[in-house]
Protein backbone atom coordinates (compact mmCIF):
# COMPACT_ATOMS: atom_id res chain seq x y z
CA UNK A 1 0.00 0.00 0.00
CA UNK A 2 1.29 3.41 -0.97
CA UNK A 3 -1.26 5.63 0.75
CA UNK A 4 -4.77 5.64 2.15
CA UNK A 5 -7.35 8.35 2.84
CA UNK A 6 -10.76 8.42 4.47
CA UNK A 7 -13.27 11.05 3.34
CA UNK A 8 -16.90 11.88 4.01
CA UNK A 9 -19.76 11.20 1.65
CA UNK A 10 -20.56 14.77 0.55
CA UNK A 11 -19.72 16.33 -2.80
CA UNK A 12 -17.57 18.84 -0.93
CA UNK A 13 -15.34 15.97 0.17
CA UNK A 14 -14.27 15.18 -3.37
CA UNK A 15 -11.77 18.03 -3.42
CA UNK A 16 -9.78 16.51 -0.55
CA UNK A 17 -9.67 13.20 -2.42
CA UNK A 18 -8.48 14.90 -5.57
CA UNK A 19 -5.78 16.79 -3.65
CA UNK A 20 -4.61 13.57 -2.01
CA UNK A 21 -4.39 11.78 -5.34
CA UNK A 22 -2.54 14.70 -6.94
CA UNK A 23 0.03 14.54 -4.15
CA UNK A 24 0.48 10.79 -4.73
CA UNK A 25 0.92 11.34 -8.45
CA UNK A 26 3.58 13.94 -7.83
CA UNK A 27 5.35 11.77 -5.28
CA UNK A 28 5.37 8.81 -7.68
CA UNK A 29 6.43 11.06 -10.57
CA UNK A 30 3.61 9.74 -12.70
CA UNK A 31 3.13 10.88 -16.29
CA UNK A 32 0.61 13.70 -16.72
CA UNK A 33 -1.67 11.40 -18.73
CA UNK A 34 -1.74 8.85 -15.93
CA UNK A 35 -2.42 11.53 -13.33
CA UNK A 36 -5.29 12.86 -15.42
CA UNK A 37 -6.74 9.38 -15.89
CA UNK A 38 -6.57 8.69 -12.17
CA UNK A 39 -8.05 12.05 -11.24
CA UNK A 40 -10.90 11.65 -13.71
CA UNK A 41 -11.74 8.10 -12.64
CA UNK A 42 -11.61 9.00 -8.96
CA UNK A 43 -13.90 11.98 -9.54
CA UNK A 44 -16.37 9.82 -11.46
CA UNK A 45 -16.34 6.94 -8.98
CA UNK A 46 -16.75 9.19 -5.95
CA UNK A 47 -19.46 11.29 -7.60
CA UNK A 48 -21.40 8.06 -8.15
CA UNK A 49 -20.96 7.02 -4.53
CA UNK A 50 -21.94 10.33 -2.93
CA UNK A 51 -24.88 10.75 -5.30
CA UNK A 52 -26.34 7.26 -5.43
CA UNK A 53 -24.89 4.94 -2.77
CA UNK A 54 -26.83 5.91 0.31
CA UNK A 55 -30.45 5.43 1.20
CA UNK A 56 -30.13 7.84 4.13
CA UNK A 57 -28.93 11.41 4.58
CA UNK A 58 -26.44 10.47 7.26
CA UNK A 59 -22.68 10.77 7.37
CA UNK A 60 -20.66 7.89 5.96
CA UNK A 61 -16.98 7.32 5.35
CA UNK A 62 -15.36 6.37 2.05
CA UNK A 63 -11.91 4.82 2.11
CA UNK A 64 -9.41 5.29 -0.69
CA UNK A 65 -6.33 3.10 -0.98
CA UNK A 66 -3.58 3.49 -3.54
CA UNK A 67 -1.35 0.44 -3.98
CA UNK A 68 1.47 -0.67 -6.23
CA UNK A 69 0.78 -3.96 -8.02
CA UNK A 70 2.92 -6.07 -10.31
CA UNK A 71 1.14 -4.67 -13.38
CA UNK A 72 0.74 -1.04 -12.26
CA UNK A 73 -1.17 0.99 -9.72
CA UNK A 74 -4.41 0.04 -8.02
CA UNK A 75 -6.89 2.54 -6.60
CA UNK A 76 -9.44 0.95 -4.31
CA UNK A 77 -12.61 2.79 -3.30
CA UNK A 78 -14.56 1.30 -0.39
CA UNK A 79 -17.95 2.50 0.77
CA UNK A 80 -20.70 1.11 2.96
CA UNK A 81 -23.48 2.15 0.62
CA UNK A 82 -26.05 0.09 -1.20
CA UNK A 83 -24.64 -2.84 -3.17
CA UNK A 84 -23.60 -1.61 -6.59
CA UNK A 85 -21.27 -3.16 -9.14
CA UNK A 86 -20.04 -0.45 -11.54
CA UNK A 87 -18.44 -3.07 -13.75
CA UNK A 88 -21.82 -4.58 -14.52
CA UNK A 89 -23.76 -1.34 -15.01
CA UNK A 90 -24.94 -0.49 -18.50
CA UNK A 91 -23.88 2.69 -20.23
CA UNK A 92 -26.44 4.87 -21.97
CA UNK A 93 -26.66 4.34 -25.72
CA UNK A 94 -24.84 6.64 -28.13
CA UNK A 95 -27.31 9.36 -28.91
CA UNK A 96 -28.82 10.47 -32.14
CA UNK A 97 -29.14 14.24 -31.88
CA UNK A 98 -29.23 16.56 -28.90
CA UNK A 99 -32.93 16.12 -28.28
CA UNK A 100 -32.54 12.39 -27.61
CA UNK A 101 -29.24 12.73 -25.76
CA UNK A 102 -29.21 11.41 -22.22
CA UNK A 103 -27.90 13.91 -19.73
CA UNK A 104 -26.20 11.55 -17.32
CA UNK A 105 -24.52 8.17 -17.25
CA UNK A 106 -21.25 9.15 -18.86
CA UNK A 107 -19.09 8.64 -15.82
CA UNK A 108 -19.02 4.91 -16.33
CA UNK A 109 -17.88 5.27 -19.93
CA UNK A 110 -15.07 7.54 -18.80
CA UNK A 111 -13.90 5.08 -16.15
CA UNK A 112 -13.95 2.22 -18.62
CA UNK A 113 -11.96 4.27 -21.11
CA UNK A 114 -9.40 5.82 -18.79
CA UNK A 115 -8.63 2.98 -16.36
CA UNK A 116 -6.66 -0.05 -17.54
CA UNK A 117 -8.90 -2.37 -15.56
CA UNK A 118 -11.94 -2.27 -13.31
CA UNK A 119 -12.99 -4.83 -10.74
CA UNK A 120 -15.59 -5.00 -8.00
CA UNK A 121 -16.47 -7.17 -5.06
CA UNK A 122 -18.73 -6.85 -2.06
CA UNK A 123 -17.19 -7.60 1.31
CA UNK A 124 -19.90 -7.80 3.96
CA UNK A 125 -21.63 -4.42 3.76
CA UNK A 126 -18.79 -2.77 1.86
CA UNK A 127 -18.53 -2.07 -1.86
CA UNK A 128 -14.96 -2.45 -3.05
CA UNK A 129 -14.34 -0.91 -6.46
CA UNK A 130 -10.80 -1.18 -7.81
CA UNK A 131 -9.38 0.73 -10.76
CA UNK A 132 -6.05 -0.06 -12.38
CA UNK A 133 -3.59 2.38 -13.95
CA UNK A 134 -0.13 2.11 -15.45
CA UNK A 135 2.76 2.92 -13.17
CA UNK A 136 4.32 5.54 -15.40
Amino acid sequence: MISTLSIGNRLADLAAASDWLAAQGESLELHAKTRLAMRLCLEEALANVVTHAYADEGDHRIRLTLSAMADGLSLCIEDDGLPFDPTAAREPAVNDGIEKATIGGRGLRLMRSYATRLSYHRDGNTNCFILGFPRS
Partner: protein
Protein backbone atom coordinates in the same frame (compact mmCIF):
# COMPACT_ATOMS: atom_id res chain seq x y z
CA UNK B 1 -13.97 27.94 -11.59
CA UNK B 2 -14.53 31.44 -12.91
CA UNK B 3 -17.09 32.45 -15.52
CA UNK B 4 -17.36 35.58 -17.62
CA UNK B 5 -19.90 36.47 -20.27
CA UNK B 6 -19.09 38.66 -23.25
CA UNK B 7 -21.59 39.80 -25.85
CA UNK B 8 -20.24 39.21 -29.34
CA UNK B 9 -21.58 40.48 -32.68
CA UNK B 10 -24.76 38.92 -34.08
CA UNK B 11 -26.18 38.47 -30.58
CA UNK B 12 -23.81 35.69 -29.59
CA UNK B 13 -23.22 35.31 -25.88
CA UNK B 14 -19.71 34.03 -25.29
CA UNK B 15 -19.22 32.28 -21.97
CA UNK B 16 -15.57 32.09 -20.93
CA UNK B 17 -14.73 29.47 -18.35
CA UNK B 18 -11.47 29.39 -16.42
CA UNK B 19 -10.76 26.47 -14.13
CA UNK B 20 -11.84 22.89 -13.64
CA UNK B 21 -15.29 21.50 -14.44
CA UNK B 22 -15.21 18.93 -11.67
CA UNK B 23 -17.89 18.67 -8.97
CA UNK B 24 -16.61 21.75 -7.16
CA UNK B 25 -16.04 23.91 -10.21
CA UNK B 26 -19.32 22.99 -11.85
CA UNK B 27 -21.15 23.80 -8.63
CA UNK B 28 -19.52 27.22 -8.50
CA UNK B 29 -20.78 28.34 -11.89
CA UNK B 30 -23.87 26.25 -12.50
CA UNK B 31 -26.46 28.77 -11.41
CA UNK B 32 -24.94 31.57 -13.44
CA UNK B 33 -24.38 29.25 -16.41
CA UNK B 34 -27.99 28.10 -16.40
CA UNK B 35 -29.21 31.70 -16.10
CA UNK B 36 -27.22 32.75 -19.17
CA UNK B 37 -28.21 29.76 -21.29
CA UNK B 38 -31.84 30.25 -20.32
CA UNK B 39 -31.74 33.92 -21.33
CA UNK B 40 -29.76 33.67 -24.58
CA UNK B 41 -30.34 31.76 -27.82
CA UNK B 42 -26.84 31.77 -29.33
CA UNK B 43 -24.23 30.61 -26.86
CA UNK B 44 -20.53 30.10 -27.52
CA UNK B 45 -18.86 28.22 -24.69
CA UNK B 46 -15.18 29.07 -24.75
CA UNK B 47 -13.38 26.15 -23.11
CA UNK B 48 -9.80 27.18 -23.86
CA UNK B 49 -9.06 27.73 -20.18
CA UNK B 50 -10.88 24.69 -18.82
CA UNK B 51 -8.17 22.53 -17.34
CA UNK B 52 -10.24 19.50 -16.39
CA UNK B 53 -13.65 18.15 -17.35
CA UNK B 54 -15.65 15.46 -15.54
CA UNK B 55 -19.04 14.04 -16.38
CA UNK B 56 -20.75 16.43 -13.98
CA UNK B 57 -19.53 19.27 -16.21
CA UNK B 58 -20.68 17.39 -19.30
CA UNK B 59 -24.09 17.02 -17.70
CA UNK B 60 -24.34 20.80 -17.31
CA UNK B 61 -23.23 21.37 -20.91
CA UNK B 62 -25.68 18.84 -22.36
CA UNK B 63 -28.54 20.08 -20.25
CA UNK B 64 -27.96 23.64 -21.46
CA UNK B 65 -27.65 22.48 -25.06
CA UNK B 66 -30.94 20.62 -24.84
CA UNK B 67 -32.78 23.59 -23.40
CA UNK B 68 -31.34 25.93 -26.01
CA UNK B 69 -32.23 23.51 -28.79
CA UNK B 70 -35.83 23.31 -27.61
CA UNK B 71 -36.07 27.10 -27.78
CA UNK B 72 -34.62 27.15 -31.30
CA UNK B 73 -31.21 28.19 -30.02
CA UNK B 74 -27.79 26.59 -30.12
CA UNK B 75 -24.68 25.95 -28.05
CA UNK B 76 -21.23 25.59 -29.63
CA UNK B 77 -18.09 24.57 -27.77
CA UNK B 78 -14.94 26.48 -28.67
CA UNK B 79 -11.31 25.45 -28.31
CA UNK B 80 -11.23 22.77 -25.64
CA UNK B 81 -7.73 21.54 -24.84
CA UNK B 82 -6.69 18.19 -26.25
CA UNK B 83 -7.28 16.46 -22.93
CA UNK B 84 -10.70 18.06 -22.43
CA UNK B 85 -11.71 17.33 -26.00
CA UNK B 86 -10.77 13.68 -25.52
CA UNK B 87 -13.16 13.52 -22.56
CA UNK B 88 -15.88 15.14 -24.67
CA UNK B 89 -15.43 12.71 -27.55
CA UNK B 90 -15.14 9.70 -25.26
CA UNK B 91 -18.58 10.63 -23.96
CA UNK B 92 -19.98 11.21 -27.43
CA UNK B 93 -20.64 14.89 -26.85
CA UNK B 94 -19.15 15.69 -30.25
CA UNK B 95 -22.00 13.81 -31.91
CA UNK B 96 -24.66 16.02 -30.35
CA UNK B 97 -22.93 19.37 -29.76
CA UNK B 98 -20.63 21.18 -32.21
CA UNK B 99 -17.01 21.40 -31.04
CA UNK B 100 -14.66 23.62 -33.02
CA UNK B 101 -11.33 25.40 -32.70
CA UNK B 102 -12.33 27.88 -35.40
CA UNK B 103 -14.06 30.97 -34.02
CA UNK B 104 -15.38 31.96 -37.47
CA UNK B 105 -16.90 28.52 -37.94
CA UNK B 106 -18.51 28.76 -34.51
CA UNK B 107 -20.00 32.16 -35.37
CA UNK B 108 -21.28 30.82 -38.68
CA UNK B 109 -22.91 27.87 -36.94
CA UNK B 110 -24.63 30.20 -34.49
CA UNK B 111 -25.81 32.68 -37.13
Amino acid sequence: MKMQVHTQPEGIAEILLNGDLDAKGTGEIEMQFVAVTNAESKVLLNMADVGFLASIGIRTILSASKILNRRGGKLVLLSPSQAVEQVLTTCGVNSVVMITHDRAAAAAALA
